[in-house]
């Protein structure tokens, strides 16, 4: 299925991507599975999603946890804890 992924702040800099559209294998259907899938891209990706740093995820503009289900057409975002205000 096709999804859009957005990266922000420290994470955007670490992977050097801000937005991408990718075709996911059908067995990748949760945030955890997506993180593991992206980790295969190389050391910087693997290091990012290793769990050493806190990464928040959102699907379609809603904060979600690692077990959240990804559907075709979703906009997934990865970002560090927020620091506005």
């Amino acid at each position: 299925m096709n999804i859009k992924i957005l990266y922000f702040a420290r994470i955007k800099e670490a992977v050097n991507y801000s937005t991408e559209e990718i075709e996911l294998p059908s067995n990748i259907s949760t945030i955890t599975a997506l993180k593991n899938y992206l980790s295969l891209r190389g050391d910087n990706w693997a290091n990012l999603f290793s769990g050493k740093q806190v990464i928040r995820a959102a699907i379609n503009h809603e904060l979600v946890d690692n077990l959240a289900t990804i559907k075709a057409g979703d906009e997934v975002a990865f970002f560090p804890p927020v620091t506005g205000g």
Binding site: F8, R10, A58, A77, F79, P81, V82, T83, G84
Partner: protein
């Protein structure tokens, strides 16, 4: 119940006047301004750059305002948050809440700020005399949010 995300500065006096004159049953206006400090974690800050997740930001702030309105008797609320590059003493954020009574206005205003701090997708990068760095999220902000759990 308004949210504005903007690069430009805002005029607090103007916004407060518009809010308080909107309804003669308003007896109380609580408001908050956040601004860039000159020193953070012991280093001199020259600029602060705010990045956000357009679309999600607005949605999360509208949700926070709706929850405040659900919890307290408020008449209206306004959130203005700037993005882009700012300097010390520049205004970052404004939250204003109107109500018939002060207790509701104060609580709703502080609630909105506490949730904005931990829920709204903004990130700050600061340029300091020690170099450029992302501002770290603070546990104290998580605690401030958690205390509102009913």
């Amino acid at each position: 119940m308004t949210v504005r995300i903007q690069i430009e500065d805002f005029d607090v006096g103007l916004e407060l006047n518009k809010m308080r004159l909107a309804n003669p049953s308003i007896g109380a206006v609580a408001s908050f301004i956040g601004q860039v400090r000159d020193i953070n974690d012991n280093d001199m800050v020259s600029t602060l750059t705010l990045e956000h997740y357009a679309g999600m930001t607005e949605k999360s702030l509208v949700t926070i305002e709706a929850e405040a309105k659900n919890r307290w008797q408020i008449i209206d609320s306004l959130i203005i948050h700037r993005i882009g590059t700012l300097q010390p003493l520049d205004q970052i954020v404004f939250v204003g809440v109107t109500s018939s009574h002060r207790g509701d206005a104060f609580k709703a205003c502080e609630f909105i700020m506490d949730f904005l701090k931990t829920q709204a997708p903004f990130w700050k990068k600061e340029m300091t005399n020690a170099g450029e760095r992302w501002v770290e999220a603070k546990l104290a902000d998580d605690d401030a949010t958690a205390r509102w759990n009913k």
